[in-house]
């Protein structure tokens, strides 16, 4: 899922302060933590309270969309919601949401409420969301026992570990596992330690031509 964190509320107040009628739009898609109707309403409530102390009266409306990155779905739903009663939109989606809306409504100001940070998986028992995929375009999980060194090793090493690996932890912080220590442990369990005897050539980051695009 795409992981986002909310921007400081002052920044959001600044975004919307030139307007009165603002629509806060959540996204029920893959964003994590979920940014659905509850978060949209709560954000509208917070901004309204904040505006009040700053002598600014907003008319905030909260809605949510199935997935803001889908221009077709978003166009259909948003048309009904906007219906001429919003001067600006605040999007709780990842970076894709505001862009979709901007493209659909060239004259409507749209602002991101979230900073998009990484592709992550959730370790729910601990409540952490951790980066697990770098969208590199050439997946090597098949060789590394299902553990991604590109996103989980601080140096994105292909032939780890490095000398900074100590007791299974990474030298950049004791709270971070060494991805290569995990890989070795896992390959051991799978009886596939021989995978490590092959030296991996430097990764071709040019596999994906940026800006990337796939066609049907």
């Amino acid at each position: 899922m795409i992981v986002t964190i909310q921007k400081p509320l002052d920044e959001l107040l600044n975004f919307i302060s030139p307007y009165k009628k603002v629509m806060v739009v959540g996204c029920d898609g893959c964003t994590q933590p979920p940014r659905g109707i509850r978060e949209a309403k709560v954000l509208a409530q917070l901004l309204e309270l904040g505006g009040k102390l700053r002598n600014k009266e907003f008319e905030l409306k909260a809605h949510t969309l199935v997935k803001q990155c889908d221009s077709h779905l978003t166009a259909a739903a948003l048309k009904e919601m906007l219906n001429g009663n919003a001067e600006a939109v605040l999007s709780l989606a990842c970076g894709l949401g505001p862009q979709t809306i901007a493209r659909l409504y060239p004259a409507l100001p749209v602002f991101p409420a979230q900073n998009t940070v990484f592709l992550g998986a959730e370790e729910r028992e601990e409540g952490n969301i951790e980066e697990r995929c770098a969208a590199c375009g050439d997946c090597i999980l098949g060789l590394t026992g299902g553990i991604c060194p590109i996103s989980r090793c601080a140096k994105s090493l292909l032939n780890g570990p490095c000398g900074g690996s100590q007791n299974g932890k990474c030298e950049i912080g004791q709270d971070r596992d060494c991805a290569w220590a995990l890989i070795i442990e896992r390959l051991g369990r799978l009886g596939k330690l021989q995978n490590l005897e092959v030296i991996q050539p430097p990764k071709n980051y040019g596999v994906v031509k940026r800006p990337a695009k796939i066609s049907p």
Partner: protein, 725 residues
């Protein structure tokens, strides 16, 4: 909806059938209890006792009334039975909930109360005889009397109680037995004939039938002590002076028929490794003896040949200076001048084999133990002659009954149960009494004796918790103060009982408990409504629920198993799509309440969201001008949405009061509430409202702590408002 406002009490609790397996779904303690007491419910009721001691006393009596309906001997069980604790889910974490002590706590209020209980209307139905006034017989008599039968108990001794009268009074006080049993027969109109001899020229079962009894329950127990044997042969020397059956000593000691200095200066040897042998050893110690106990079994309780007595007995005996000699048998009792002098003890190499009890010895390794008194306590048996005369034994010499109905296969209308059928715990004999009563009722009314009686059970698992509180230690008098026949275990105080009852995680379904409903905490059993049009399948509810009630499997929407749900509302409070709502605390209902309360208050207006399990009374009068409380089933049910709504509606400050994390009834509710409120506070700070909300934990049942928090918060909000002007 605080606990003390409750007016209603008994709810019809339901039997919950697990849909997948068709089994009765219950907490493991209730499955383990031979009587099937509603343990979880009484624990919850105790956990929420009113603060006022007199009101608490009345509530405890009401709880006792409820238990009494199922188990009129519970006041005794509270001293001697802990079968439910063996299966408690908490056992694997920090030790079982001390249910026996909780029941004893109720017992100590209830036994004196029994004297004031009115006698029930006299039954007018057919006559039934119960032979034997022990736990099994009494239970049967009570249940039959409840069903309208005229019951007569025929008891050989001059008092009721049977095997209960062998339990030393330092464990089970005589006044508890007397108070319970005398009131039981009085309340239920049970006729008792004492000193009745059965067989050998006494009464016969046919004779009883001729007297007009339509059915007979025989629960004569195992009053005959078993003599010492070695390799299937009796050990000679049992007739020497100083060789006594332990069981007889226990009876005499309880009757105060022996001098308290009976064994002063004497070396006493007890043979046997069961709980009764330990009762005998500890009784002998209290009578002045220097006591050793010899048993076949080894010290390691975890192995097949381990000593059968309870750990508590072994510890208690050891503390009292009793020496335990493990893995030794007795193959010779040696006397001198007609008096007991010593026993010869070969080493026991193996107690049980595939066939069962079949001890093996190494005779080359033997030792002699010298003493003045030998107390033999290696088991006991039934009065075989009577059962033979009555033709109740099969060819193998065993009592021949149907195991479900307990009716004799050899004599119609005669039912047999309790220790005489299979030696066990008092509660097990009581269950047989209760089962026999059911059979007798069906038999007399001409119904099918068996249909629908055998039930299978599914045991509930433990709810997740962040804090498993430690089991409280049992409080025993120190050895130097307890070597007498006064009760040596201290009962729970009111505070201790509530604390221990709160520790119970209330495993199992709400429908078979309903304590919260009885106390007025909620109007109906917890129900989560899922709006499938709104669910976005994020799975938040699945991981937040401490009870594993929600499931989400692709393709599909979230499903909530309401027999697992405890109605805390964490899922509803955290659902990002507003798809979940908890009945009676619906989002819109709380919004409406907020508007109403906001309009009622005078500035500074303070709204409190409070967990019901803090068990706090309604707001003190001093606070009602400026504050209002919304009681929630768990602090984690507080929604940031509602807090903000309150501020928007003109409330000046919002206080969230939760139980401390280690005291959270929902396992992780308090932590979740703190997390939500702190995160919101951070955001409100950016908007300039950081001081308007406050999360606090308040000690349950301590209104002074809550009041202090509230007073400080109102003060703080006041100051902010003044500054703002």
């Amino acid at each position: 909806m605080a606990p003390e406002e409750s007016s209603t009490w008994v709810e019809e609790i339901e039997q919950v059938i697990d849909e997948a397996s068709g089994k009765v779904y219950l907490p493991p303690c209730q499955v383990a209890c031979p009587i099937g007491e509603n343990i979880k419910r009484t624990n919850a009721l105790l956990a929420l006792l009113p603060l006022d001691p007199e009101k608490a006393r009345q509530q405890i009596i009401k709880i006792g009334d409820e238990i009494y309906e199922k188990n009129p001997l519970f006041t005794i069980c509270g001293y001697i039975c802990g079968l439910c604790e063996r299966d408690c889910n908490f056992k694997d974490f920090t030790g079982a909930i001390r249910r026996r002590m909780l029941k004893r706590f109720i017992s100590d209020y209830y036994v004196p109360h029994l004297d004031t209980e009115p006698t029930l209307p006299a039954p007018k139905g057919e006559k039934v005889a119960v032979v034997g006034g022990g736990p099994g017989g009494l239970m049967c008599a009570y249940m039959l009397s409840q069903k309208g039968y005229r019951v007569t108990i025929l008891e050989r001794n001059p008092e009721l109680g049977g095997a209960l009268r062998y339990i030393p009074s330092y464990r089970l006080p005589t006044k508890v037995i007397d108070g319970t049993l005398n009131n039981l027969v009085r309340i239920a109109h049970i006729k008792v004939e004492f000193g009745v001899k059965m067989g050998d020229g006494g009464k016969t079962l046919d004779g009883l039938m001729k007297e007009g009894y339509k059915a007979i329950f025989v629960a004569t127990g195992t009053p005959n002590p078993r003599p010492l044997t070695f390799e299937m042969k009796p050990v000679a020397g049992g007739d020497l002076e100083g060789v006594i059956f332990g069981l007889n000593l226990l009876y005499d000691a309880n009757q105060r028929n022996v001098s308290p200095h009976l064994f002063d200066g004497k070396r006493v040897i007890v043979v046997g490794g069961g709980n009764v042998a330990f009762d005998v050893a500890r009784t002998a110690r209290r009578l002045g003896g220097d006591v050793s106990l010899v048993c076949l079994e080894c010290e390691d309780k975890s192995c097949r040949d381990g000593i059968p007595a309870d750990v508590e007995e072994i510890e208690g005996a050891t503390d009292e200076g009793i020496k335990i000699i493990y893995s030794r048998g007795v193959n010779e009792i040696i006397g001198k001048d007609g008096k007991f002098a010593k026993i010869r003890c070969p080493r026991c190499t193996c107690v049980f084999d595939e066939k069962g009890f079949n001890p093996k010895f190494d005779k080359s390794d033997d030792t002699y133990l010298e003493g003045d008194v030998l107390l033999v306590t290696i088991g006991q048996g039934m009065e075989r002659a009577f059962f033979q005369q009555e033709g109740l034994l099969n060819e193998q010499g065993r009592i021949d009954v149907d195991p479900t109905t307990l009716m004799s296969n050899l004599k119609k209308g005669v039912f047999i149960g309790g220790d005489v059928r299979r030696i066990g715990f008092a509660a097990e004999a009581m269950r047989e009494g209760s089962e026999a009563a059911e059979s007798i009722d069906r038999y007399i009314r001409g119904g099918n004796l068996k249909s629908g009686r055998v039930k299978e059970y599914k045991k509930a698992t433990t709810p997740k918790s962040d804090h498993y509180k430690p089991q409280p230690e049992l409080a025993w008098l120190p050895v130097e103060e307890r070597l007498n026949f006064e009760l040596f275990e201290k009962g729970f105080t009111l505070e201790e009982a509530v604390a221990e009852a709160r520790r119970c995680l209330c495993c199992g379904p709400c429908r078979s408990c309903k304590a919260c409903i009885s106390l007025g905490l909620r109007p109906s059993v917890a129900k989560i409504n899922v709006d499938e049009n709104l669910c976005i399948r994020c799975g938040n509810c699945v991981y937040l629920c401490p009870y594993e009630a929600p499931t989400l499997v692709s393709p599909g929407l979230v499903k909530i198993d309401l027999d697992k749900c405890h109605g805390c509302g964490i899922c509803a409070a955290m659902c990002p799509a507003f798809a979940l709502d908890i009945e009676n605390w619906e989002r819109e209902r709380i919004s409406a309440l907020i508007s109403q309360l906001a309009a009622e208050m005078a500035s500074p207006k303070v709204l409190v969201f409070r967990c019901q399990w803090t068990a706090l009374p309604p707001l003190d009068g001093d606070f009602t001008k400026n504050a209002r409380v919304i009681d929630l089933p768990c602090a984690a049910k507080v929604e940031t949405y509602h807090i903000l709504e309150a501020l928007q509606q003109g409330v000046d400050g919002v206080l969230v009061a939760a139980c401390p994390e280690e005291d959270c009834k929902r396992g992780r509710g308090s932590r979740q509430a703190k997390h939500s409120v702190t995160a919101l506070q951070e955001k409100l700070k950016q908007m300039g409202y950081g001081d308007r909300i406050h999360f606090c934990t308040v000690k349950p049942r301590h209104p002074e702590i809550f009041n202090q928090e509230l007073a400080q918060f109102i003060e703080r909000i006041s100051t902010i408002l003044v500054k703002g002007k």
